[in-house]
């Protein structure tokens, strides 16, 4: 019930790394995701998938930090994609114009197929 974000990272997907979020993506949550993402980039990973199945709420400050990760990804010719968004989170991403810079997939399987 506390809303601090929990992250689980699955690096056993070949080139792709899946990051599972659980909880609220606010500024703190966004920064936690960014830290994990930048570590993965350091390690040489260039394709990241954020699975938001267990995230029911985000805010625009958290999303702005995700946009920073996308920027960094574009610089290294990498990709950040999303899957399993609630309809409202997907709508919000679209309102913010994220769709042109990051793939959004309904489920993890579809995302992995498209990304690998």
């Amino acid at each position: 019930m506390t809303e601090s974000l929990k992250l689980t990272v699955d690096e056993e997907r070949g080139d792709l790394v899946v990051i599972y979020t659980e909880g609220y993506i606010n500024n703190q949550g966004g920064e936690e995701i960014a830290n994990v993402a930048y570590e993965l980039i350091e390690k040489g990973h260039t394709t990241l998938l954020l699975n938001l199945a267990q995230t029911k709420i985000v805010n625009s400050i958290g999303i702005s930090i995700l946009i920073e990760i996308i920027e960094r990804m574009l610089l290294i010719d990498g990709k950040l994609a999303f899957c399993c968004l609630t309809p409202t989170i997907e709508k919000t991403f679209n309102i913010m114009g994220l769709a042109q810079y990051a793939g959004m997939y309904s489920d993890e399987e579809t995302a992995i197929e498209a990304l690998t």
Partner: protein
């Protein structure tokens, strides 16, 4: 008339108190879950705008949640998020033109999100504070 007024200190995650309340009220009046979640997202944005931008001295935000329509036939929710901060001119909040295309996306979205997710939004702002009133029908 169902109504809840919350006086919330501007501390992290306190916006979730407002969104949880909106969730309970929305479910209570039988609003569809997607719509309830849209209201919750808009409320969160209105609260963090007040937290981030208002420079309120009392460091509190007032959130009023109101069920529209008769008790037996609720029509929707009206939520007002009010602060006593420095205010701003909503007409002045222009699209940011600086930086790269993507960098431009980074901030300046709160009000757009609120307007897109709610049916009706009114912003009254002056040097004594800001009131964002938003409605969504069931």
């Amino acid at each position: 008339m169902q109504q809840v007024t919350l006086t919330l200190p501007m501390i992290p995650n306190m916006e979730l108190t407002a969104s949880t309340t909106a969730g309970a009220l929305g479910e209570h009046i039988g609003m569809a879950q997607d719509k309830v979640e849209e209201v919750q997202m808009a409320v969160v944005e209105a609260c963090i705008n007040a937290f981030e931008h208002s420079r309120s001295k009392v460091r509190e935000v007032q959130v009023q949640l109101l069920v529209l329509g008769a008790d037996e036939d609720p029509e929707g929710l009206e939520i007002t998020v009010a602060d006593d901060g420095i205010g701003f001119d909503p007409a002045d909040v222009a699209e940011r033109k600086d930086g790269t295309e993507l960098a431009k996306l980074k901030r300046g979205h709160g009000l757009k999100i609120i307007r897109s997710l709610m049916d009706e939004v009114t912003i009254r702002s002056s040097a004594t504070g800001t009131r964002v009133t938003m409605r969504k029908l069931r």
